[in-house]
């Protein structure tokens, strides 16, 4: 934009031409990240169908910037684990999580992903937080799309206010060690 003529009161300072924006780097990057989170739908069972319904036009996840579902872990920010994870699948889930690049967040959608759900059996992993760290848990069997959108908004809050140094801090690395996840992968 070129020069603009603006008529204002006598005692107000005006600026002609381009201006500066002053903010913190954390906030700017947080805003950019939050509004374009690319999810990786790890949909195994019934919650996967509700996830597809949330993606549909009635509940529309793309208005939150999640238009592009990334099925490649390297290009995804958010891992949405929707559905029951059995013990047979747990190593696969861990590998997918390790393949994602930092920063990454995880939503455990549904009762089965949060804690094993109604399946307290020998073959079901009682909650994915036994293998990977989870940021937001969504209860429900399956959760309504509105609940998933609430979780997404909470993730946005987490993303917006996350410090840029968090992923390199020692506490984070300690936390990853408790899951036996190699932080330098």
């Amino acid at each position: 934009m070129g020069e603009i003529e603006v008529k204002v009161d006598q005692n107000v300072e005006t600026i002609n031409g381009q201006g500066f924006q002053l903010t913190m780097l954390d906030k700017a990057i947080g805003l950019a990240r939050a509004n374009s989170v690319w999810p990786l739908p790890f949909a195994t069972s019934c919650c996967g169908i509700e996830f597809m319904a949330t993606m549909g036009s009635n509940y529309d996840l793309s208005r939150f910037g999640m238009e592009r579902m990334s099925f490649s872990p390297r290009q995804a920010d958010l891992l949405i684990v929707a559905g029951t994870i059995s013990k047979k699948l747990a190593p696969v889930l861990k590998k997918v999580y390790e393949q994602m690049s930092e920063p990454k967040w995880v939503i455990a959608m549904g009762a089965c992903a949060s804690s094993g759900g109604i399946f307290d059996t020998y073959s079901v992993l009682q909650g994915i937080d036994r293998v990977i760290p989870v940021d937001v848990y969504v209860p429900g069997c399956p959760p309504r799309p509105e609940q998933l959108i609430d979780a997404v908004i909470k993730i946005h809050d987490l993303v917006k206010h996350e410090s840029l140094r968090r992923r390199n801090s020692s506490e984070y690395k300690e936390m990853l060690k408790t899951f036996n996840i190699d932080a330098n992968d």
């Binding site: 307290d120 020998y122 073959s123 009682q126």
Partner: protein, 170 residues
């Protein structure tokens, strides 16, 4: 069953004629002909039922097993549900085997669909099907060393430490 072209008594009579003492007693709970057959002859009886022109019982509905731990010598019952689509007739065959030697002949050469059903029965109950092309576990992990559907094993994971059984009524 409506519109069935065969009756339970007819089919039972035909089976009795051909296989005589190998066929167990007549029983039809809820109008489904249920016959006990010896484990050694299950294969030939199922084959005969498929090929017999008047019966044409040639669609395997489902194959499974039941564990009766108190019935010594006959602990595992392999149950076959077969259906005749042409005559609209269903039949259930049961073959009892013991847990000391839980083997029975496979029927994958008669019905290709029995392949995975037998693998599932092996996975859950430990029934070994002689002649099966690939008898390995299918639904559980390969490292599992017990047969979970047998009555002596509990439902929950034995290693879980966070659930207090007092609150779960166990």
């Amino acid at each position: 069953m409506t519109n069935s072209k065969l009756t339970n008594e007819d089919v039972f009579a035909k089976l009795k004629d051909t296989f005589a003492e190998k066929i167990g007693e007549f029983s039809a709970p809820y109008n489904l002909l249920t016959i006990e057959v010896p484990a050694a002859d299950a294969h030939s009886i199922i084959d005969w039922l498929k090929k017999e022109a008047t019966l044409q019982i040639n669609y395997l509905t489902v194959l499974g097993a039941v564990h009766y731990p108190e019935d010594k010598g006959r602990e595992l019952a392999v149950v076959y549900h077969i259906h005749s689509l042409v005559n609209n007739f269903r039949i259930r065959l049961k073959a009892y085997i013991s847990t000391n030697n839980p083997t029975i002949a496979t029927i994958t050469d008669i019905y290709a669909g029995a392949n995975w059903m037998e693998r599932e029965t092996f996975d859950f109950f430990g029934v070994k099907f002689n002649g099966h092309p690939n008898l390995v576990r299918i639904l559980n992990e390969d490292s599992m060393d017990y047969f979970p559907m047998r009555k002596e094993f509990q439902l929950e994971d034995a290693t879980r430490e966070d659930k207090d059984d007092r609150y779960f009524g166990r």
